[in-house]
Symmetry: none
Subunit: 205 residues, 4 copies
DNA sequence: TATGAATGAGGGTTCATTCAT
DNA sequence: AATGAATGAACCCTCATTCAT
């Protein structure tokens, strides 16, 4: 069937993609060898170059997978008439945690190779990073305008703190290869981040 | 005189060290060439191997510089009879910001090459990371015991959020190569991080 | 109809042939990729192997095209009862110039890839080169026997000088991608070569 | 001795240079492998890159050797007050023949890889080729002005014919790997080229 | 100490050729 | 006849490290 043929082609590309995810996660971008990726995908050496122009291109494909999903979410959030900042921030948190559950390697690579590694940042990659920051900042600013978030700090500072908390949570899990056990734990993590971000760590009693 | 010779030796070693800082900051550990570092230090590249066993060893020396300072601080904090958690957290923040001011490259490398890049983490390096986490966690736990910090979250979670906020602040500055202009700005940044961490981002009015 | 199918086959083979001419002229034999040739011919690159055994084989087909025409001419000249050496040499010159006009790439490839490049010369190819040389030499010898050409030089030397002049003329045109504008210019070029070859460059006044 | 040390360094570079000459002559530029050259020079692989930036650079060094010598000669000829065109042309011929004797591979490479192979011609290389052509043309024009050479042909045409004859002579020798046996033969070859170029191949009796 | 020549393993990429469909 | 996915040998180049001086 035609559909199958198409599926086969996609399958192979997908196999390479996933192999790349796995190998890059293991060894990092620089130490990941194209031959490793090919072997992991169960194909020959040169075939990788049939589907991806070169190593850089393969890396970009992975990065794009992450950003595309995230920007789709941010577009959703922006277009939302809902003024509930809590919900918006919660959705951002869930994007990280959901992806962490479904595609652990992708989050790992984002954290280790993109988020912090300035050496892998081409200007194009940096741009998307800044864009995401500014979209999040817009959510913060909106919260300040609606008197939901305190306005005595710059929205930018709030953004740093929020994303920093989120990212470090995920990073720490990445660091120890911790798995999220079920949706209950995921909810608890999201609650913690949001609660502390909103109400602070100080004992309010 | 012996003393002078030693000084000379130290000078040369120091020159290599600083050159390595600069180059690794620019290119990242993997792309930093020993020859780049030697050229930057104004010596032949063979000589680098006189002072450092190999590239890995040179990298470790840099990492150690960071951790040594930080653990000295943490030891100070731990040994402190003072029960003021605020002050302790503030001192941690200042270690990051001070080092950022005095030795920008060092913080940059810590952020980009150590803090997040799991691929550079030998088990030895990972251990120190975890140790720092647990020392910070001890401060949090102490705060919870003294009813200064809320106890409805794990101390580990509070640690993540605190260090995440701090780290992302510095990361963001690293990312845009931002300089801290004077102690006033440094104070403001420290205040923001601490205030939001303790009292939350929610408008309390 | 069979005839049409054959024609179609020939058409496709011819298309590949011409594409190969164009690409090899542009990039040289070594850098010409089979995929380039296929793309230029408007077919898939696997199909090239249906018509030509391999790259070498395709190259040989091109070379043969050149030599076949030239040897046919030389056979004509040899079989000619006419003793006019001038005419014979003129016909050789015209073969180069005519082919240059009608099939520029072919001459280009002959000059750049066959005539001088010893590395592309298999013994088979070298043989035909030598054969052509010796056929031309026979014309020279005949001219010497008939007292038309001077006999105080070896016929071989005369051959070198004649073919050298001819070839360099064409080479120079190839080098600057010069087109021959009309038959008048072609005649003038042929006259110049022949006149200088026969009467010398010295001012005879 | 210091002199020896310098000599040693030069020796190694020279060894690579000569190995490259030999290998490129054998296989042509494209098929010559850097590893072949290193092996031929009796050194390790990477050392070639210590002395030459890359393969292209090594090739250029060879080309330069040829052109430098030739342009030095042409400068000499141009600066000459002597108006004897014969002598000037003879000196050009001797440059080719002398180099052929002393450095056979160099002439071979010039003929096969530079003179005719347009695919190896970067614009820089082409420029020098044209420059040499125009310098020779100046000699021809001078001969025409002094009524030594006939003026009913363009100086450019005379240049083509002269250089063509010369080049083809050498080419033919290259092709059959013919060695020049002694100075006597060299003189005879030079005489033949010059005599036919000046007085023509026609029997004058 | 100091130099930089020398080594060679390693890895990215190309591309002719084969083959299943 | 036709396609283009698949293979893998080749080959250039980099660079950490060693070593003779």
């Amino acid at each position: 069937m035609k559909k199958d043929l198409t599926a086969f082609k996609k399958d192979k590309e997908q196999a390479i993609f996933e192999a790349a995810l796995k190998i890059i996660k293991q060894k990092g971008f620089h130490k990941a060898r194209m031959s490793d990726i090919a072997k992991e995908a169960g194909i020959s050496y040169g075939l990788v170059y049939h589907y991806f122009k070169n190593k850089e291109d393969l890396f970009d494909a992975i990065i794009n997978r992450w950003w595309d999903g995230l920007f789709k979410l941010m577009a959703n959030i922006s277009g939302d008439n809902e003024y509930d900042v809590h919900k918006k921030l919660r959705r951002i948190i869930y994007y990280f945690l959901d992806t962490y559950q479904s595609n652990y390697e992708l989050v790992n690579i984002f954290i280790t190779e993109i988020s912090r590694s300035t050496t892998n940042l081409t200007s194009n990659r940096l741009d998307r990073f800044k864009k995401f920051m500014s979209l999040t900042q817009a959510v913060m600013a909106e919260g300040q305008e609606n008197d939901i978030l305190r306005a005595d700090f710059k929205a930018r500072y709030l953004t740093y703190i929020f994303l920093g908390a989120l990212e470090t949570f995920v990073s720490a899990m990445v660091l120890v290869d911790q798995k999220i056990k079920g949706d209950a734990q995921k909810d608890r993590i999201a609650d913690s981040i949001l609660e502390v971000f909103l109400n602070g760590a100080k004992n309010q009693k």
